[in-house]
């Protein structure tokens, strides 16, 4: 059985413990930040794609209804809504 301390030992090693946990959370934080930047780029790409997809079809899609009963504008707004959630 692992022996347990009966009194609180000296705190000479506290720095190592703090360093280990800080390093780990820093790695996770850096990774999450990189992920956020990449997701922002994808979102921007989606937005640009939506805008470019809308432009040439503006005249043609007025009043056009899809098979699911939604107009193209409805579909785009739904897509944008899902994109920002």
């Amino acid at each position: 059985m692992t022996p347990l301390a009966t009194a609180i030992p000296g705190s000479s090693n506290n720095g190592y413990v703090a360093a280990a946990y800080i390093v780990f959370f820093a790695i996770v934080l850096i990774y999450v930040a990189i992920m956020a930047i990449r997701l922002t780029r994808v979102e921007r790409g989606l937005r640009e794609l939506n805008e470019r997809a809308e432009t040439p079809r503006d005249g043609a899609t007025q009043g056009e209804t899809r098979q699911d009963g939604l107009g193209e504008d409805d579909a785009h707004s739904q897509a944008r809504e899902r994109e920002t959630v």
């Binding site: 190592y16 280990a20 780990f24 897509a79």
Partner: protein, 234 residues
Amino acid sequence: MSSRTFPPMNGRGLRALSIATVAAIPIALALVFFYAPIEAEEGFLQKIFYLHVPLAIVTLCGFVLGGLMAIMHLRTRERNWDLRSYVAIHMSLIFGVGTLITGSIWARGSWGHWWVWSEPTLVSFLIIMLLYATYQPLRFAIEDPERQARYASVFAIVAGAFVPLNFLAVRLSTEYLHPRVLGSSSNLPPKMAFTFLVSLVAIALLYATLCCYELTAKRSRMLLKSRSRTLGFQ
């Protein structure tokens, strides 16, 4: 799905997983620092154990998981399995770096050295990390997506099989300096064992959550590219 609609960036499952992870990590930290007793020999330094060991376990399991997913890819030829295998290995590499750094800090505090070359557990883990460090250069050196996926899967399977063999070899070796955690020689007091298990769950949840985010991001990017091509914007 219409060609002009795009998938959501996240789902209900991912949100639930994220919430579970965000809840589990503070609980694990609270248990580590306020509940788990202090060990007699190493004192407060032993608290690194609750971070370092779960990280190492999750890393190695991730590598094996990557190999299993690669088997699924070769069997089914579905691109999704290759993507999952890639993400599992990619995330394990990141967690592996965390394992090496926290292990070195622990070694410095406990043994007075950042690295001990005569210690089989440390060296074997480094060998595994170096082996997997070649995965991404190998993968991205191949341009053809089909070949890239196939070669990467073969690598993931071979390297994934090496991980448990390597673990067993180290276990069977006689020179031990490294503290044993799991197995017949481990007799953690109940409070320590419980804290360790919660920490392991928290780290595993973090791994799963980050894998899911990475997968979602990768799929979104792939879809964005394919939609751009379909609409003639690229």
